[in-house]
């Protein structure tokens, strides 16, 4: 909402400066987004007199002027304006000045061979009006040489962001009311005289859709002449950013911007029969004033005549029945439309307008007559004509709301003590009438106020919300209690553990291109795909943390990175019960490119391999409290992974805590990555929580009395046997004695038969209360060999 200071002063008697007004507007909740003074753009333009005007020797339409800017040295200026003539006073832009419209800097130049030392300007060039038919003509007494900015005078324009709850402030008058209530001046009454019609309205006006259009007031004015609107009105409209069009259109726009009251003027000659509000029929359409055709449906209210639709009610008029220069008889429409209907229709048609903004927020239902009087008065004054009697079809819902209020609430909710009388006066200045028992009648222009809390807001904002004193929240005794949940503690711990292991935490988009999401989708539940994505690249919610990290890898590699260790800790999005989402905390990590660069001690650069991924998975699962010693490495990491160099870490056969390994070359190709990538994904929600209440005391420390003994075994096994199976089998061969089994050699080649491999393990034995005798060790070794034998393993001689 934009308006000039002089416009505001039409409604508010005030001596406040623009800065004071802006500060007060901010303080009462009308946020000032900017204050701009159009005069500030007029530097370098001066009041100047044309001394002589002669034909340009080489151009019919140009004249060569001699112009006096008051310093006695006339300047030669070439000018194309038809009204340029000797003796007139106008505005000269000197070299160096910047033309407000278009931003061109003026320079001394030659036009068709004749030197020109500046430019005589039109209203439009200075953004002071629309006139571009000729140059500005100033009165004869305009002081020569005066800076035109000073001559024109300063009239700052406020740009105020109106929150959706304040339709009353969608007009300058309402803003003036708020400022007056806040002590910045006195309201001037609305100068609307009731105009009595001299003949019955010749056109039938009615509403056939009382739900969408409860009231339709109107009248006809005959014999108008629709020229241009007066300068004062054009200046007002321009300050609001509205282009003046014609007197009738400008008047309706002016009343909307000044009073928040949209209206429409129809060219009566273009109407057929009665005019009325009704529901559109499915399949109907209308050509709106913006030149676009809109398809309507039966949920929308329109204004139609006996021949067809003219107007999308409350949103935009139609092209065919608008006023033009030839209009002589007009029909004025001042209607009340249901705000929800207007909003729904506007959204459906994707059509915004100044009228819609006001109707959907809720215009004052008690302002129809005043609005019509204001319009009529201005039309008669500017365009002449003879008004008919007013037709009032329907009744606007103008019964005011009454709210039971207790002035103590200003302290109870607002935290400020304001005397009752002061509150009553504040409310009264805003139009709220409080009776003796504090039943407060809400003015009809405040549809947003529906409870006591709203009245607290009114008195607190007028009092000054910044004057509310800080009051400490009550604090529980002692040191603050811990508040984090186990899941939150887990998240923090895993994040810092990953960073401590040398991984860089990234945060990537939650949404992905559909093909990337599909490549990582699990199960058959389907992805969450947006209906209105901002782009195809941000369309499907990620079912895995890896694709986002892989795109980050590609970007980094493209920037020349040789080694990347990235992780992200965030949600993956799955389908849940009852149509809800199932969002699970997940850690993804990618290790790409070089694990170690070429080095003087290490030789060639080493690439990351699947064991690096396995190491990260196990270390982070251990930090997350997973029982890592009980996890089995199994297959089925997913088709995104290298089938022979990936696996899952499972607790029992079904619970997958992590997947890890090298990514499939096809995955890398899809993400356009040219280096091998090892990846890890931890499914943190699958980690079983700790049972029972947390205790701080650790279990007692009881070191074994006797030293542990190690024995090495080497087995020949089938080349396909997973080493982990051997280790696990041996570990459980004699649980009373074997405390650890560590594999330290995996050998194939000389001395090992084709199709077999030699696995060497170190078995740690822990004696109990007496040392092992030779026979004990032999028995244990026997158990180890027997157990291994069940896997087909043969002890090497």
């Amino acid at each position: 909402m934009k308006f000039s200071l002089s416009w505001l002063q039409d409604h508010l008697e005030t001596t406040a400066t623009a800065d004071e007004i802006a500060a007060k507007l901010n303080a009462i909740g009308l946020e000032v987004e900017g204050v701009e003074d159009p005069a500030a753009k007029l530097t370098g333009f001066r009041v100047a007199k044309v001394l002589t005007a002669a034909r340009h020797p080489d151009a019919d339409k140009l004249q060569v002027l001699s112009v006096d800017v008051g310093d006695g040295t006339p300047l030669q200026v070439v000018c194309g304006a038809p009204n340029a003539r000797a003796g007139m006073i106008g505005v000269l832009g000197l070299p160096g000045a910047i033309v407000p419209a278009g931003g061109m800097e003026l320079k001394k130049s030659a036009i068709r061979g004749v030197e020109s030392n500046g430019m005589m300007c039109s209203t439009r060039e200075l953004e002071l009006g629309e006139d571009h038919d000729g140059i500005i003509e100033l009165p004869e007494d305009a002081p020569l040489g005066m800076a035109f900015a000073d001559y024109h005078g300063s009239d700052p324009v406020f740009d105020v962001a109106i929150t959706p709850n304040r339709p009353d402030c969608m007009g300058v008058y309402g803003i003036a009311r708020d400022l007056a209530a806040a002590g910045l001046g006195t309201m001037k009454p609305v100068a609307a005289k009731a105009v009595v019609g001299s003949f019955p309205c010749p056109t039938e006006i009615r509403t056939d859709d009382p739900a969408g259009c409860p009231a339709f007031y109107g009248r006809v004015i005959k014999g108008v002449s629709n020229g241009t609107s007066p300068d004062w009105m054009q200046a007002r409209l321009l300050s609001a950013g509205q282009r003046p069009i014609s007197a009738l259109v400008d008047i309706t726009n002016y009343v909307m911007l000044a009073f928040g009251r949209p209206a429409h003027a129809y060219d009566l000659a273009k109407l057929t029969g009665a005019i009325f509000a009704r529901r559109a029929a499915d399949g109907e359409s209308v050509l709106a004033l913006n030149g676009k055709e809109y398809a309507l449906d039966s949920s929308m209210t329109v204004i139609a005549d006996d021949a067809g639709v003219h107007d999308i009610a409350g949103i935009m008029g139609g092209e065919h029945s608008g006023c033009s220069e030839s209009t002589t008889d007009v029909l004025l429409e001042v209607a009340y439309f249901d705000s929800v209907r207007i909003g729904d229709t506007g959204r459906k048609l994707n059509l915004t307008s100044d009228a819609r903004q006001r109707f959907e927020r809720g215009v004052d239902p008690a302002f129809l007559d005043t609005g019509l009087d204001l319009l009529t008065g201005l039309i008669l004054e500017i365009c002449g004509g003879e008004p008919s009697e007013v037709v009032r079809a329907g009744t606007p819902p103008a019964t005011p709301r009454v709210i039971a209020y207790d002035p103590a609430r200003s302290l109870w909710l607002g935290g400020v003590t304001i005397p009752d009388d002061t509150q009553r006066a504040m409310l009264a200045a805003l139009g709220f009438i409080a009776d003796d028992s504090w039943n407060v009648t809400v003015p009809t222009w405040r549809p947003d106020v529906d409870g006591a809390a709203d009245l607290v807001e009114e008195v607190v904002r007028i009092h000054g919300i910044d004057n509310v004193a800080s009051v400490a929240l009550p604090r529980a005794d002692g040191v603050a209690r811990p508040t984090a949940t186990p899941a939150q503690k887990l998240e923090r711990r895993v994040r810092r553990a990953a960073a401590a292991r040398g991984l860089n935490e990234a945060v990537t988009w939650s949404f992905l291109p559909v093909p990337e999401a599909e490549a990582f989708a699990t199960g058959n539940d389907g992805l969450w795909v947006l209906a209105n994505p901002i782009s195809e690249d941000m369309k499907a919610m990620r079912p895995s943390l890896l694709p986002g990290l892989l795109s980050a890898v590609r970007r980094n590699v493209d920037r020349g990175a040789a080694s990347l260790r990235l992780f992200e800790l965030g949600r993956r999005y799955l389908r849940g019960a009852n149509g809800a989402s199932d969002e699970r905390l997940t850690l993804g990590a990618v290790l790409a490119g070089e694990k170690t660069p070429r080095g003087w001690a290490t030789g060639k650069a080493q690439a990351f391999d699947a064991f690096d991924a396995k190491a990260e998975a196990l270390a982070l699962l251990a930090e997350a409290g997973a029982p890592v010693d009980n996890l089995a490495v199994m297959g089925e990491a997913g088709p995104q992974f290298h089938p022979g160099q990936s696996g899952t870490l499972r607790l029992g056969p079904k619970t997958v805590l992590a997947r890890f390994g090298m990514l499939h070359p096809a995955t890398l190709k899809q993400f356009d990555i040219g280096v091998p990538v090892a990846a890890v994904e931890l499914f943190l929600e699958a980690i079983p929580g700790k049972r029972g209440a947390a205790t701080f005391a650790r279990s007692a420390y009881a070191p074994p009395a006797l030293q542990a003994v190690t024995r090495d075994f080497a087995f020949l096994v089938d080349a396909a046997l997973p080493a982990g199976d051997l280790v696990r089998t041996v570990k459980s061969a004699d649980k009373a004695n074997i405390v650890a089994v560590r594999l330290f050699d995996d050998f194939r080649g000389q001395g090992v038969p084709e199709g077999q491999k030699s696995l060497a393990i170190e078995v740690t034995l822990q004696p109990g209360d007496k040392s092992y005798a030779e026979a004990d060790l032999k028995a244990i070794a026997e158990r180890v060999t027997t157990a291994a034998g069940k896997l087909g393993a043969v002890l090497r001689g």
Binding site: G451, A453, V468, S470, L473, A531, N532, A552, R555, R565
Partner: protein, 371 residues
Amino acid sequence: MDYAATLEQALARIANAADLDALEQLRVELLGKQGSISGLMKTLGGMSPEDRQTVGPQIQGLREGATSALTARKAAMESAALEARLATESIDLTLPAPSAPRGTVHPVSQVLDELAEIFADMGFAVATGPEIEDDWHNFTALNIPESHPARAMHDTFYFPDKDAEGRSMLLRTHTSPVQIRTMLDVVKANPGGAPIRIIAPGRVYRSDSDATHTPMFHQVEGLVIDKGIHLGHLKWTLETFLKAFFERDDIVLRLRPSYFPFTEPSVEVDVGFAIVNGKRVLGGSGDAPGHGWMELLGSGMVNHHVIRAGGLDPDEWQGFAFGIGVDRIAMLKYGMDDLRAFFDGDARWLAHYGFSAHDAPTLSAGVGTAA
């Protein structure tokens, strides 16, 4: 026999031994079973007690003198040999040592940890909710009905899906639906209601993308529900939090009335800043010379419709709520100037702006990490 001369002779030979082998040979020659000094020791047995009295100590002296000379000479030789070996083992320690990669925590995570720490001290727990929300929790329950113009203020991402109750699914446009979920949970556990103090951090989404807006960003919601909570408490809480977060006592807030459907009264909060080296640094009144105000967050007293939607009686329970951009305050505190870089995963950026794993925020150390 001249024992002294014999000792002299032996000592000279020990001193002249060329290497450890020669020394060992000499030891055998002198002190071995067949050695010359060992032989003299054996003669003591055949002597008269008087002779033994005089000769014994001399032979003994001879043996001890030779033994200690041998030991000393051997130690000296070994030490010299070790020195000589170590001299050959010297290495160039200006060569690079193996390097361990330096991991980092993302600024958003770090700041969320800082917030959790500060608010925990004021008795706030951390609550969460789904990012894929239904329109009842995201809008309707927050007093933004279907046709409310405020829905248009939120550039909402929608899914074509509806949940089992026919509610449209969308990406939450703010963290405020967690208010509703928290209240409903509290009422479930305590049918009459109970005091609530939570912050709810997380990802939120708006269909908006330009230099200062990304379609995904982070917000933290604050909610206090209790009896007798008013605007003054809200102001104190925000001041206290911002002072602790920026570790400055001169944070000055300016409250302005505003409008949010879910609060009444609604308050926009500005904070004073100065321009230091071309960057905005919070602190001081925005009205002071060289200072200005910047919009920081939206807040207000929870609207009675919202309290009712949360299952509480608004005549009994009231409180305040606020929402603040996490990425934004991270940028203000740590000096990043491009929001889009937060979500790019550029390893150089992460290394530059990220935090050490060991910088877990604590109140005793100040939650912030110095540059």
